[in-house]
Symmetry: C2
Subunit: 124 residues, 2 copies
DNA sequence: GCCTTGGATCGAAAAACGTCAACATAGAGG
DNA sequence: CCTCTATGTTGACGTTTTTCGATCCAAGGC
């Protein structure tokens, strides 16, 4: 349930040194766009933050996530799948329930990528 | 050309303390999703990195961006508009040409939001 | 005034996406 | 084995996104 998705962050953790360090080539852009696209939906962002709020090593059962939305269970399942395919979260079944947790390395990679090299916070 | 978009980052720079600090409410999620969605396209990521590569205060003429893609000029113009509406870039017309630059504060906001609070880099 | 050139805007077509109802699957407990 | 509950999967539908050609606007040069 968590094999092929993990490879995504495994092989590319160091692929993109930074947004501004050099123009991205097509492959880098396509790979990063997949992850940002996963973040580009309000439901998925809320799901991710609900899971991440459990802290390092924390887990959340799907049965806690689904009732927080006015959406059907299959829809939530679909969004969780997209987050997982993006390498942002992973999951494990334990008995009847499935638990999800965040993969912090994936988030860090994006944060490093976005961090402006010499940003002068003031907006002039 | 750059009024209403700037308000987006102006009023919410401090809205979202961090992904993991607390579950996002619907408004926060919707607002952030708009920005991440803008980053969720390979063409826009490449455009942004091409502009950002000019460094702090750097500008790029559209006439330098368009020929780098196998896409029509209206399509590039459309993507630049989405990046601008997301508050990530801004532009100004000077004479015949239009120049774009990055708004570093917007990128920093996302980076801060994504930075895991106590990430243990190792993926275990 | 009239061209020419750089960009934005306007439909329209195709593809991708979000959503649901229906169904399938995996364990738990009889 | 059968049933019940918790999730994932499938197929369809309406909406949004991406892309283009055609057109329009702004500025410069004649």
């Amino acid at each position: 349930m968590s094999k092929q998705e993990l490879e995504v962050i495994g092989q590319d953790t160091a692929c993109c040194p930074g947004l501004a360090s050099a123009p991205l080539d097509e492959d880098q852009a396509a790979e990063l766009a997949k992850v940002f696209k996963a973040l580009g939906d309000p439901v998925r962002l809320r799901l991710l933050s609900m899971i991440a709020s459990r802290g390092e090593g924390g887990e959340v059962c799907v049965c806690e996530l689904t009732p927080a939305f006015d959406l059907s269970q299959p829809t939530i399942s679909h969004h969780l799948k997209l987050l997982r395919q993006a390498g942002l979260i992973d999951c494990e079944r334990r008995g009847t329930w499935v638990y999800y947790w965040v993969l912090p390395a994936a988030l860090d990679r994006l944060a490093v990528f976005l961090k402006a090299p010499t940003a002068v916070e003031a907006l002039a």
